[in-house]
């Protein structure tokens, strides 16, 4: 029971991080019907900005964690938003009316480009960050095994949940969210009603990039080790999360992310760490066999 609880806490933390990345995949897919394979790299860039910014703030003598965390989050979101915007502008917009395969290939190209760009600028060695937020709560202690909820986990969980809630409200209630959903359902009609479709698509990339940046900052804090290649596997898993939840569905991405995190944590906790990725992808395959549209994805039922 104690062990179960501990894995649950770890799984939810990890799952929240995946969910933040998955939202970017699902939103971009929703609006332009294409998988942004460079999205994992945006997350990786967010993580690098976190390492650089935390180190720089440390050198400047700013060690009060709440302030430095806030500054780093803002820097990471700001810079990756620029990357997200530029990726769309350079790699996807020129191919908007091209056959579907073309933007897919340029997405993969963009992903390789960004990996190599960071490798050239930052070197291929891993980057480390000393633990910034230490300590935590001991929830339970039975026969020498204690269930711990670290302060960092609390911060990650709280921020993730509030970001996801805020995001859901933006999509469901604001004119911007409505315009995004309109572009998703009928881009041409949206433009006939006065929606600037290009701008709406750009903003979608920017929003997705911002959330991926937050995930990047969290991962840096959580594991303390990053390299230029982390975007690949994290991106793949977040993509899996989006598909598992039902690609195009915001709630699905959140649910899928949490599930992937939990599956990973429990598999690693009860079976073997080596095969945790196998478990994740196997479950994806099984779910898709029985529910091809994902858990919350809906087949389009429309009356003509």
């Amino acid at each position: 029971m104690e062990y179960f609880l501990q894995q649950l806490i770890n799984g939810l933390t990890l799952g929240g991080i995946y969910a933040l990345i998955a939202i970017g995949y699902t939103m971009v897919y929703g609006i332009i019907g294409m998988i942004n394979f460079a999205h994992g790299e945006v997350y990786m860039i967010g993580a690098f900005i976190a390492v650089i910014a935390f180190t720089a703030l440390g050198l400047l003598g700013l060690t009060w964690v709440p302030l430095s965390l806030a500054i780093v989050l803002m820097l990471a979101i700001g810079f990756t938003a620029i990357y997200g915007w530029s990726i769309e502008r350079v790699a996807y917009r020129p191919l908007r009316s091209a056959p579907r395969l073309a933007p897919l290939i340029s997405a993969i190209g963009m992903s390789i480009l960004l990996q190599n760009y960071v490798q050239v600028l930052q070197g291929a060695k891993i980057k480390t960050l000393p633990p910034m937020i230490e300590g935590g709560l001991t929830l339970m202690q039975v026969e020498g095994f204690s269930v711990r909820l670290s302060y960092l986990q609390i911060i990650i969980l709280l921020l993730t949940v509030s970001l996801m809630a805020a995001f859901s409200v933006v999509i469901a209630r604001t004119p911007l969210g409505r315009a995004q959903r309109a572009c998703e359902q009928d881009r041409r009609m949206a433009s006939l009603l006065g929606v600037d479709v290009d701008r709406t698509i750009s903003l979608t990339f920017v929003m997705g990039a911002g959330l991926a940046a937050v995930a990047g900052v969290f991962v840096t804090l959580y594991y303390g080790v990053i390299d230029f290649f982390i975007g690949f596997l994290a991106g793949l898993k977040a993509f899996t999360a989006a598909v598992l939840g039902g690609i195009g569905s915001l709630a699905g991405a959140m649910l899928g992310g949490l599930l992937i995190g939990l599956i990973e944590a429990f598999w690693a906790g009860y079976f073997t760490v080596e095969y945790k990725d196998l478990a994740v992808f196997a479950i994806l395959v099984i779910v898709l066999i029985f529910r091809p549209t994902g858990l919350l994805g809906q087949p389009e039922v429309e009356k003509v």
């Binding site: 006939l192 009603l193 929606v195 009356k303």
Partner: protein, 241 residues
């Protein structure tokens, strides 16, 4: 109010409009009739810049809108209820109407919504229902209502009667007349139902193979022998009233 001068629009290599000129004056209902594929919908879409004509000029209220992008054109005060209605299927009726108000002054929103609900009371009852689940007639009302939400001075309507039961067709045409007379909205109407359209319109144009073949008042065209034989007698869409 709207002047289209010699526009030529292409789909790839195919020339869909081969130099079309029409005039729409303030307060009029002008109708475009013609067979399938004559270029009627293309003309309406070209006015909205999607696709943009390769040659010619479109001037709306004194401003050249030929090279503007679609979302900029509709900001000038024209609205389009396009072919096939294009309701956002996974949005509620209310959200569809809110989308219609994208370029409108938010201060008008409550007034405009009340106006649309008065015109189409069924929409008020269905406002929380998803657009995709409405019947064809309801979708048509929603499509017109959505276009009216931006307070357009010129309303482009593409086949509002398509696929509707005769009783509904009459109702839609009555509403178009009402929008024109009571609200002072100028209307450019594309119809296959030439009989109804010509009776309603002040003037009409007959489009054949991407060219204007005939122009005149509604009554003139109704009386014209070629029009009668091609579009009214035995032709599709000719519903005797």
């Amino acid at each position: 109010m709207l002047s289209v001068a010699g526009i030529r629009t292409f789909y790839g290599q195919i020339e869909a409009l081969k130099g079309v000129s029409i005039e729409v004056r303030q307060g009029e209902i002008v109708t475009l009739i013609g067979a399938n594929g004559a270029g009627k919908s293309t003309l309406l879409m070209s006015i909205c810049g999607n696709p943009q004509p390769r040659a010619g000029r479109i001037v709306f209220e004194g401003q050249d809108i030929t090279r503007l992008s679609t979302h900029a054109i509709v900001r000038h005060g024209l609205a389009h209820a396009p072919e096939g209605r294009r309701i956002f299927p996974r949005m509620s009726v209310l959200e569809n109407l809110q989308m219609g108000a994208t370029v409108a002054d938010p201060a008008h929103y409550a007034d405009d919504l009340a106006r649309v609900f008065k015109l189409f009371p069924i929409l008020e009852r269905r406002q929380q229902q998803r657009g995709g689940t409405l019947s064809g007639g309801e979708q048509q009302m929603l499509s017109i209502g959505r276009a009216l939400m931006s307070r357009p001075r010129l309303l482009l309507l593409d086949e509002p009667s398509l696929g509707l039961a005769p009783l509904l067709v009459k109702q839609i045409f009555r509403t178009i007349a009402e929008i024109n007379q009571r609200e002072g909205v100028t209307v450019l109407l594309v119809e296959q139902n030439a009989f109804h359209a010509l009776r309603l319109a002040h003037r009409g144009y007959v489009l054949v193979n991407g060219r204007i073949a005939l122009a005149g008042t509604g009554a003139e065209l109704l009386a014209n022998r070629e029009v009668r034989s091609a579009y009214l007698e035995g032709g599709h869409g000719a519903v005797p009233a």
